[in-house]
Amino acid sequence: MATTKLGFIVQRPGYKSENPKLALTHAIASQSVEIYLDDEDEVTCDVAFIGDGVLNCIKDQKAVENYQLNSTESHIKMALLCDLNIFVCKEDLDKYGLTENDIVLDANEMGGDLEVKVVPYEEITKMMEEMKHLLFF
């Protein structure tokens, strides 16, 4: 039994390119990766939003209403439902004057338990050290 840990780092705002959304959909795909692996092997994904990437986390995104497109917000909630670790850099939120009130924090209304972790950048550095591979978006 082995585990390969992947760290997804989202450093840009959403909607300009698909990448922030694809970061989340790919991370969520870790839920079904076992079809390609031996029994008990697994791939886990942690996701961190840093820099302008934290703008992806602002809540109440009306992307379906305006562009008939699932919002990045909904993908973050889906990732929480799948029990993925979602980190948001505290220094970057501070830089923008954003608080936990302004961002997606949980998927409670969908029955999720896990919450977004607002952490100092140092913790995200630590996460990056622990991962086997890094994927920057």
């Binding site: 795909a29 591979h133 890094l134 920057f136």
Partner: protein, 119 residues
């Protein structure tokens, strides 16, 4: 010899992102490494068959075919492809189509992963 998994997401024909991924894959194969190439997002345009060769546009169908003969494993994100109108019926021969979990599966035993995201 190791295994390199390359993921290419941003892809502008005429930019050199996909070109870069294909050339790096070729260089790694030449050195005896195993290479998986995952194309997602607009990168899936690599998977559409019957692209016409013009000197003004990147033309990767030929080099990709040659590298697949040397063992390059190319898989396109199925949903990203379908959303663009690229279906099984018009996919370049030899290119596989799977869900996103394939990419993660490929990283499992990869020695190195190069994820080309960007914009």
């Amino acid at each position: 010899m190791g295994k390199l998994t390359i993921g290419c997401f941003a892809s502008l024909v005429g930019s050199t992102n996909l070109d870069f991924a294909v050339k790096l894959a070729g260089a790694a194969l030449d050195k005896g490494h195993k290479v998986d190439l995952w194309v997602s997002g607009n990168g899936t345009m690599l998977s559409l068959q019957d692209q016409r060769a013009f000197k003004d546009y990147s033309y990767l169908e030929k080099p990709v075919k040659e590298l697949m003969e040397k063992g390059l494993n190319v898989t396109a994100c199925e949903a990203c492809a379908e959303a663009r109108g690229y279906h099984d019926s018009n996919t370049l021969e030899g290119v596989k189509r799977f869900s996103m979990d394939w990419y993660l599966g490929s990283t499992f035993d990869a020695d190195r992963v190069l994820h080309i995201g960007g914009e």
